[in-house]
Subunit: 493 residues, 2 copies
């Protein structure tokens, strides 16, 4: 290992360790912190981010990056990722970084009120500033990376994939959906309506069950915690991962499926290559890959016929009462229900991609300058009408529903659907490679699936780009085919 | 404000903010973290400490400290404290800091086993290394500060007080105790033995009561949390203070009095001058002052006749059962019981100082080179015999009982008793200054006491040294007199 590269490894480990501290403080802010701690926490996170950024853009870093050489596949990938991180960090002038942080924060604050009041006019000037700054950032990142401006933003969330990878997949899905959605609705209408289990469901029972299920999937609580927060998430670090959920007494569905979702994220973090901890190559490979790991647990495995046949009796044993709603076929109808709705986060897996495709098209137009912020509500309504045949009655249920753009996150949305499609493709490959995978799920046993994911995805860290990871694991780059096949099996059969 | 001083304020705020991040991660490590997170947490804290140290010893810092001027009492005190922090940080060569951290950590690890096995021989070589390095550090700090070596260590825990301040006070107390202890025991034997309330006491009830009591004392849970940890403590930051306790079903005494103790610490942090937040002058003035604030709540106020007359019925209302043990006079006998024991942390307020005096004498001899580590068990036994007339049957109940020395903390112990004495002196001054203070406590109302403490202690930050703080608040430097008077009233009347 040559000296510049050895020094770089030390510095990147230091930066990653500061990132771990920030991750823990971020978890605390959502799951533990009393309201009065907010202002100080903001300062703490800002100082940590500033120190880490300072280490990344320091002159010694540039010198060592220029001089370093690395042998072997992992070290070479690691060095390339170091160069990438440095290139992105130095591409943006500090004044732009600061203006962006201020504008995002101001817009996000106004958006919270504007959404509640369904008042797009209130947030519009703030969002215009955010978009203008994002265009500037995209241009600067484009110049530094050689990617198109929009791809340069996407690359910040999922390295190695751009609009050209996504466009044909989304177009294929759009065509599929136009035919599949009415058919799925028709089939659904011809079957008995599902019955909801009757609550109330005690929080303590839900918590104990959620923990037991996540352990069953493979989460080891010597290295994890399960807590509560308003918006569920997975945070923390690979050896100390923190998942959260939210319990409501009327239904256990949200908390339990949410825990399974976050457990998928957590297992990815837990399974990252420990020998490359705190190095860029040892990190998760991006948001689309991360989402594939939560969805393969929540959507592919946990809602499969096989697992539901095990889960139904378990749920009934935990909550008691009438056994009928816990019958696996009822749970399947309940948790695989198709509905055209306005809200992305409430969408089923068949219509969810439509919400993402809409946002993907609109944010490309916003960044490209082809759509003015003022025209967003109209473009949104048109897109919803075209994709799902419904028109939002107000902007609260339209372009005001998501935090992302109002907090400056452009290029993130595709990750959700790329993750869903990758989950289907990975599940198909796992089923083909691992005999008895579904028989194991029918015993509540995730070990065969988890073993395959650890080897093919988690343990790979960021060694491969997104498409190479898919190729190595499934033999093909990402396609929509397996996802559509999965949906056909679940909704059109 | 001249420019170098303005820059210094910015840099010290940054250092303090990193300290806040560390404080939060330290709290998490004790109250929340799963066991598997320990190794990563150690790294996170080490990197944060390293970054903060780097900022403190940077060349720009020395230049600005030399050039800075500050007008006004607070700014002048602030600048002096900045210079003090820089002087102490630069006094120790990095190699010594690293060797000390390694030796302390190794010794502490061995000590945990050695204490359990009462095996002093096992820890002896490790403790010898720790002591040798502490002598070296004391010499370096002495050269930089002009203090004696032992005082230079003490100064790290409670600035502005040294062995010469402590020695006459401790000598006076020793003489007092020789007479007072047997008399207190005699009086106690002549009175009815206290009756213990019968448990079990549900954790939920204890937790709710503990929170209510701490709110009653003045803690605002918009800026605080109450959690559990093996060793109770007060951590966090002034706007987000975190206290912990430990619940056992057999007795509520430990948790409840512990919460009152930590609430005292927490109120000090909450009451620090907000306008000087993140500046040295805005911090707590030292460990002795901090302990005075926990003990004035726990020992002086909460165990007073006045407060017990309010507390007894409250406790009975919470726990139910036989009301007799909750009679205020029974609680007084229960919580003001004198006993010659081996363990410092279990000692009553009359004998506690003897434990501290023993350690104060021994650690001075260890640092001064007048006592070899090998001779510690014998010197300990002799000291206990002389001070309390008892001889520990083994080293587990002797020189192995405390973590402090085995983790490299020399000069800390006096803070406990200085704090107890300061609490008594401050309470006497508060009683004289605030009419109706005890009548308020008899209504469960801490507001008059807290108001006085906020003005005279909390709000002063580190503007004054320990003795000047005492002078300004009570008219005199610290003396043993009020503490002895307090004990006479409680144990000899």
């Amino acid at each position: 290992m040559n000296e510049p590269y050895a020094r770089l490894k030390g510095r990147f480990a230091r930066i990653a360790t500061l990132g771990e501290a920030s991750a823990m403080l971020g978890w605390d802010a959502s799951a533990m912190m009393p309201p009065g701690g907010g202002a100080a926490r903001g300062e703490q996170l800002a100082v940590l981010a500033g120190v880490a950024h300072g280490l990344l853009v320091a002159p010694e870093m540039a010198e060592d990056l220029a001089a370093a050489t690395a042998e072997g596949e992992w070290d070479a990938a690691n060095l390339a990722l170091m160069r990438r991180a440095h290139r992105r960090a130095t591409a943006l002038p500090e004044s732009l970084v600061e203006a962006t942080a201020r504008a995002n924060s101001a817009c996000e604050k106004v958006w919270r009120e504007a959404r509640a009041a369904s008042d797009f006019a209130a947030v519009r000037p703030f969002l215009e500033t955010v978009v203008a700054l994002q265009r500037e950032a995209a241009a600067a990142l484009s110049a530094a990376t050689g990617l198109t401006p929009y791809d340069a933003l996407m690359d910040g969330f999922q390295p190695g994939i751009g609009a050209a990878d996504v466009e044909p997949i989304f177009t294929a899905y759009e065509a599929f959906l136009a035919d599949a959605l009415p058919r799925a609705e028709e089939i659904q209408a011809s079957r008995p309506a599902p019955v909801r289990p009757q609550g109330p469901f005690a929080t303590e029972t839900q918590r104990a069950l959620g923990r037991r299920l996540s352990e069953r999937v493979g989460l080891d609580y010597d290295h994890a915690r399960l807590d509560e927060s308003l918006h569920p998430f997975c945070g923390g670090t690979p050896t100390d991962v923190r998942i959260t959920t939210r319990y409501v007494p009327e239904s256990f569905e949200q908390a339990m499926l949410g825990i399974l979702h976050e457990t998928g994220h957590a297992l990815y973090e837990r399974g990252l290559p420990a020998g490359w901890a705190r190095q860029p190559v040892g990190e998760a490979s991006g948001m689309a890959t991360h989402e594939s790991q939560s969805l393969i647990i929540e959507m592919q495995a946990s809602r499969s016929d096989a697992f539901l046949s095990w889960l139904g009796p378990e749920l009934h044993a935990a909550f008691g009462g009438d056994p009928a709603p816990y019958a696996p076929e009822n749970l399947a109808r309940l948790w695989r229900r198709v509905e055209r709705g306005f809200i992305r986060t409430e969408a089923d897996e068949l219509t969810y991609p439509a919400h993402v495709i809409l946002r993907f098209r609109l944010e490309q137009a916003l960044i490209g300058g082809d759509l003015a912020v003022a025209d967003l509500p109209g473009a949104w309504a048109e897109g919803m009408e075209r994709l799902l045949g419904i028109t939002p009655p107000d902007d609260r249920r339209g372009c005001l529903q998501d935090i992302h753009w109002h907090d400056g996150a452009f290029g993130y949305f595709p990750s959700y659907t790329l993750g869903a499609m990758a989950a289907a493709q990975l599940m198909a490959a796992a089923r083909a490679a691992v005999p008895g995978l579904d028989r194991a799920l029918a015993r509540g046993d995730f070990a065969p699936l988890l073993g395959w994911l650890r080897a093919r995805v988690h343990g790979q860290g960021s060694r491969l780009g997104f498409q190479d990871l898919m190729r190595a694991a499934t033999g093909r780059p990402l396609e929509a085919a397996d996802f559509m096949e999965h949906l056909r099996g679940r909704y059109l059969a």
